[in-house]
């Protein structure tokens, strides 16, 4: 089988107030179910190596982790190659219980934002309070970016990761480029 290709296949924009990169595919498994149930909690901890996140939280260790999506939905993040294995593990753990685990890795496009002004770039497009004291690394926002759904989180103080639907990857890349255009610093989150 051919190597999977992400929608924008590594496009980069560096001319503006934040560097924007369309990254290669990463593994994403959407999980719905009772998040307090042991068969989910234990299995996820074993797979991801992190605890269950709180509301609007994301627990990530390097490229593996769990993101909160809604009271009955989580997103398991892993490397693209590991998806099938983890999906099997999850299906075995779920067994006859009522829960769902679905591979959505190919349905998404992933971007990485870097620089001092990434909080501003995001706040131009999403109705989100991106102040450092409210939106710190370890938190995720499932929201919209201009006219399409998106989710993003801070990886560290100057890096953010953003996920959107694959079909709108070009639109989102163009949006981010527009929001990061040279000379558009807001300097709102100053310290």
């Amino acid at each position: 089988m051919s190597e999977p290709i992400s929608a924008l296949n590594g496009s980069v924009y560096k001319e503006g107030i934040a560097a924007i990169t369309a990254t290669g595919p990463i593994g994403m498994i959407s999980i719905r179910g009772d998040m307090t149930a042991g068969y989910l909690k234990k299995t996820l901890k074993k797979i991801a190596g992190v605890d269950m996140p709180d509301a609007r939280g994301i627990n990530l260790k390097v490229d593996k982790g769990i993101a909160w999506m809604s009271p009955d939905e989580l997103l398991l993040i892993c490397s693209y190659a590991e998806v099938a294995t983890h999906l099997d593990t999850l299906h075995n753990a779920i067994g006859s219980n009522h829960a769902m685990a679905v591979n959505v890795s190919d349905a998404r496009a992933v971007f990485r934002l870097k620089g001092k002004h990434i909080r501003e770039v995001l706040a131009k497009l999403a109705p989100v309070d991106t102040s450092p004291d409210v939106f710190a690394p370890g938190t995720i926002r499932r929201t919209r970016l201009a006219q399409v759904p998106a989710a993003f989180w801070m990886v560290d103080t100057e890096t953010a990761q953003l996920v959107c639907f694959r079909s709108v990857a070009q639109y989102v890349f163009d949006l981010l480029k527009t929001a990061a255009q040279p000379g558009s610093e807001v300097n709102h989150h100053r310290r």
Partner: protein
């Protein structure tokens, strides 16, 4: 003449002269000037013509309330009409042109209207142009539209960019004058997150012009100290050139930041729209001075007294050597004093009041030798394109002229009105303050938020406090109250600074000058400069029965111009109250609506223009289609290939070729856009039985079934093939447009109605690239790729199977929307293009061609398959379409069942689906109606049916169509008539809707 004087100009950088042009004339100003101050410095008193009578108009104000000085600014991609000279900062190379005149500003043909003004009173247009009715549209409106209008419409695409910005804070302070600065400081001391907005480029508002001392220091120093203190606080964000434009529910505020109107060559966006969610809003928006109503108060050179002072102090501009001051309050004395102290002449102060003793300001004016005439007024201002003199009369009389005083300028003050717009946007109430003769915010009736408490607090002059000391104390107290309700606490040592107090004599309300002005004077007394509304117009409206202020406003157009009555509203409604012999508070105000001051359309649109105007959804094979000459069709936000044109082909030729080739050889369709929704859980079958009209719970794993979905009103909303994956899991295909909508539909039922059913749904539409391999050679192609058995026995019609083809993991559904042997194959999106390529290679010798949506439509129409959106339009039920076979009779219930049993739905008179075949082989026009006998109550021919889909079928080499026809299925063979919009009448025979392969042999091989 107006000119620049040697002293003053605190906002100017006189070392940096800049050049600009006005109506092509090259002029010079300084960095720090506004366009208005620079025009005045160049003796450009006449800046525009009025809207209705084309009267010469000059600058009246120095801020956003300016009604007259509207300009066309810039050129080409940066051209913008209706820009206020008073809020436009001067920059080198600025190009301005005046508006609303022809052929020139100095000589305007439209000015003849002013001689006709007797014949153009309020309501003239309503009375004149109502009869005869058709004349409005064809004669009157085009003429009026041509003669009306302010600036020119831009012709070029806007060269600038714009953006939005979402911000959050505890306390939002709007207005960076002394009140706003003090409120922000106080709020910030409590630890609250504060955002402070100021519409101008400078902090301090008008306090530095008005003077005074705070804690013994000059006000300028106090402002500088405050600004420095705020700038050093981590929890404070300060924005200049950012206007609070509107206050909305839930403490949501729009701010309008003008980033480079003053520096158009800078990088970055031109405007930024701030979308702020605040815990509480403090409006420290100051006050606006009111004009006085006297005859000739619109002649260039008549200005607000405070504006005269602003131009003098801020920009070193004298409006005239001799300025007559006319007032009903003490504040205008400051203008007289400032003028005389600057070495200019004030021949007299006409004070409409009669007071027992002098206030400090009055005494100071007299000390300077200014002649103060108490109880006096202006009978009339003389002059044409500029003021030449004023005629003085007694305020108490009817306007008998006592004296004529030559002058170049008139500084008028009718008192001050707090800027209550932002307070009022969300329902804040006003009270009438008799002492100030103005409306001010009613502190007991603030706009109420979701928690039942007020979320806006007015502070300083905006709350009705006018002395410096009062303003500072009120702002401090307001902010203290606000932070306390938000749960913050001021440090014990936080106190309000004290300012010097200057007692002023009370104002006397003056709504007409002189109070007994006769009709002739009233006809020359302007209330609304921009819309040319005079005192006589408002009186006429009252006389004609327009007693509601909202009606009078619309009848006279008072306050309806682009300044939204900032100067005219209070004077207008006081005039109305006078004419009605009612109290001003009883008459009330008109409604204040956002924005406070016009904001650009670009800012509202934000980033959404050009490439990112709307999201465009692309399938994994989008680039391939693009490179292969796909003609695009928008389907929702997707773009799908309509047809792939080869060189020399018309679109029609391409479609015909694609149909023929698919029927003869094989075709590939990118079906990735079709919705794919996983439904899983112990109750999944039960759930789908409710959603679809037919039975889904009985479907065996490995099998597929076509299903219909209806709304609870019975109407068909979507269709598609459902595959049962395992006991607990189904995969529902939806239409392209239905994917998100049906997913939402499912979630809604699961979350609101059947919340206790054990079902989860997931929209995996974009996880897969799905390709339909269609045609007699389809199986051969898949066998060539190899890897799994796709024979009839291994994979029968309406079955699915997982496997591997040519090394690609895939799921194959053997379903057909074309009547041909057909496989729809899903692979993960990341390898979609590679798989498409593999199919193209494998199909090369088998005659493979990609086909587009029009070919798909023809293939399905030849088979009589319905299409959601063609055969359905939200009013059609499955029974209309002959789809009774897909409606389960066994099920107790499904969404739409009850509705479909209602009398209208079960009515045999409902139009039913049939096939239509023109008698001459031509193609019926889409949407055409069939006509029947007789006429309806509107004298239109009765209709008995309509075309829902129509195509030329290359397979049958004739036009084929489907349509809904009255008693259609019972009228097979009858010929009915469809008049086309082209003048031709098309005759078509009613036939079975399945035109091709009625037995379905081809798809079942």
């Amino acid at each position: 003449m107006s000119t620049r004087i040697a002293t003053g100009g605190r906002l100017l950088n006189k070392s940096n002269a800049v050049s600009f042009s006005f109506n092509g004339k090259h002029l010079r100003g300084f960095e720090g000037d506004t366009l208005a101050s620079a025009l005045l410095a160049n003796d450009q008193m006449l800046v525009g013509r009025s809207f209705k009578y084309h009267r010469p108009r000059g600058i009246v104000a120095a801020g956003p309330e300016e009604p007259n000085a509207l300009m066309n600014l810039g050129r080409e991609g940066q051209f913008e009409p209706n820009q206020r000279a008073t809020t436009t900062e001067l920059f080198d190379g600025l190009e301005a042109a005046s508006q609303n005149h022809w052929p020139s500003l100095e000589f305007d043909v439209g000015a003849i209207n002013k001689y006709l003004s007797r014949f153009l009173p309020a309501g003239f247009y309503y009375k004149m142009f109502i009869h005869p009715r058709p004349f409005w549209k064809h004669v009157y409106e085009p003429i009026i539209r041509h003669s009306a209008g302010l600036g020119k419409a831009p012709k070029d695409r806007d060269a600038d960019t714009y953006e939005h910005f979402h911000a959050f804070c505890d306390v939002l302070v709007i207005g960076g004058g002394v009140a706003g600065l003090e409120a922000a400081r106080t709020a910030a001391l409590s630890g609250a997150k504060v955002i402070l907005l100021e519409q101008n480029a400078h902090w301090g508002g008008r306090a530095p012009v008005d003077g005074g001392t705070v804690e013994g220091k000059p006000i300028n120093d106090h402002v500088d100290t405050l600004v420095a203190e705020l700038a050093a606080m981590d929890n404070v964000q300060m924005r200049r050139r950012t206007m609070g434009a509107g206050v909305y529910d839930h403490s949501y505020v729009l701010g309008y930041e003008r980033l480079k109107d003053h520096a158009p060559k800078a990088q970055g966006p031109r405007h930024r729209l701030w979308r702020i969610r605040a815990g509480h809003i403090i409006t420290a928006t100051g006050a606006i001075e009111r004009p006085l109503s006297f005859a000739g108060n619109d002649i260039p050179g008549v200005m607000l007294a405070a504006a005269v002072r602003d131009y003098l102090v801020n920009y070193g501009v004298s409006v005239g050597d001799r300025t007559v001051v006319v007032t009903n309050n003490d504040d205008a004395y400051r203008t007289a004093i400032a003028l005389v102290e600057a070495g200019l002449t004030v021949p007299t102060i006409l004070d409409a009041r009669v007071l027992p003793e002098d206030s400090a300001l009055m005494a100071r004016a007299k000390e300077l030798g200014i002649r103060v005439m108490m109880g006096h007024a202006i009978a009339s201002v003389k002059g044409g394109k500029r003021v030449t003199s004023v005629e003085v009369c007694s305020q108490a009389g009817e306007g008998a002229v006592l004296e004529t005083i030559p002058c170049e300028a008139v500084a008028m003050s009718g008192g001050w009105s707090p800027v209550v717009h932002l307070w009022s946007h969300c329902g804040g109430k006003l009270v009438w303050d008799t002492a100030l003769a103005t409306f001010r915010p009613d502190v007991n009736n603030a706009p109420i938020g979701a928690d039942g408490h007020g979320f806006v607090t007015a502070a300083g002059a905006a709350a009705g406090f006018f002395g410096l000391d009062d303003i500072l104390h009120d702002a401090h107290a307001a902010a203290d109250g606000v932070v306390t309700t938000l749960g913050f606490k001021l440090p014990a040592n936080a106190t309000s600074p004290n300012a010097d107090r200057q007692e002023e004599s009370p104002l006397a309300p003056v709504w007409m000058m002189p109070q007994g002005a006769n009709a002739k004077l009233r006809e020359k007394t302007w209330l609304d400069y921009q819309n040319d509304v005079k005192v006589s117009d408002v009186r006429l409206a009252a006389q004609e029965g327009f007693v509601s202020v909202e009606h009078t406003k619309r009848y006279t157009t008072l306050g309806m111009a682009t300044d939204q009555g900032k100067l005219s509203n209070i004077n207008g409604l006081a005039t109305l109250a006078g004419a009605l012999n009612a109290d001003i508070p009883t008459v009330g105000t008109t409604t204040f609506r956002p924005p406070y001051h016009p904001i650009s359309m670009g800012a509202i649109g934000g980033e959404a223009r050009g490439e990112v105007f709307q999201p465009l959804r692309r399938t994994p094979m989008h680039s391939w289609h693009d490179a292969n000459e796909a003609e695009w069709e928008p389907v929702g936000q997707w773009r799908r290939p309509y047809a792939y044109k080869r060189s020399g082909e018309s679109t029609h030729d391409a479609v015909m070729r694609e149909v023929t080739n698919t029927r003869k050889n094989m075709g590939l369709l990118d079906a990735s856009t079709l919705g794919k929704i996983i439904v899983k859980g112990p109750d999944a079958g039960k759930f789908l039985d409710m959603l679809y009209t037919n039975m889904m719970s009985s479907l065996k794993p490995g099998k597929c079934r076509y299903g219909l979905m209806c709304s609870e009103n019975g109407f068909l909303i979507d269709d598609g093939v459902v595959a049962r994956i395992d006991d607990d899991t189904f995969l529902c295909h939806t239409t392209t447009g239905g994917a998100d909508r049906i997913h939402q539909h499912m979630e809604e039922w699961l979350q609101t109605e059947w919340w206790d059913w054990q079902v989860y749904v997931a929209n995996v539409t974009e996880q897969y690239a799905q390709i339909a391999v269609v045609g007699p050679n389809a199986r051969k192609c898949l066998e060539k790729l190899g890897g799994m058995d796709v024979s009839k026995d291994a994979l029968g019609f309406m079955e699915w199977v997982d496997g591997e083809l040519g090394g690609f993991k895939c799921r194959i559904y053997r379903i057909s929307f074309s009547g041909e042997l057909s496989y729809e194959i899903a692979v993960v999106a990341g390898v979609g293009q590679a798989f498409w390529d593999a199919l193209m290679v494998a199909g090369h010798d088998l005659g493979v061609m990609p086909y587009g949506t029009e070919c798909l439509h023809i293939l399905r129409a030849e088979k009589g398959f319905i299409m959601i959106g063609d055969e359905t339009d939200g009013t059609v039920i499955p029974q209309d379409l002959g789809l009774g076979w897909a409606i389960s009779k066994k099920k107790e219930d499904y969404l739409g069942k009850r509705a479909q049993e209602r009398s209208h739905m079960a009515d045999p008179e409902r139009w039913k689906l049939v096939g239509l075949e023109t008698t001459d082989g031509s193609t019926l026009p889409d949407g055409a109606y069939a006509v029947g006998e007789g006429k309806n109550e509107n004298n239109q021919r009765n209709v008995i049916g309509r075309v829902t889909s129509t195509y030329h079928s290359p397979t049958l080499n004739k036009g084929i169509a489907m349509g809904l026809v009255l008693h259609g299925p019972d009228r097979m063979g009858e010929v009915i008539d469809f008049p086309g919009t082209d003048g031709k009448t098309y005759s078509a025979k009613i036939v079975d809707p399945v035109f091709y392969d009625k037995e379905g042999e081809k798809q079942n091989v």
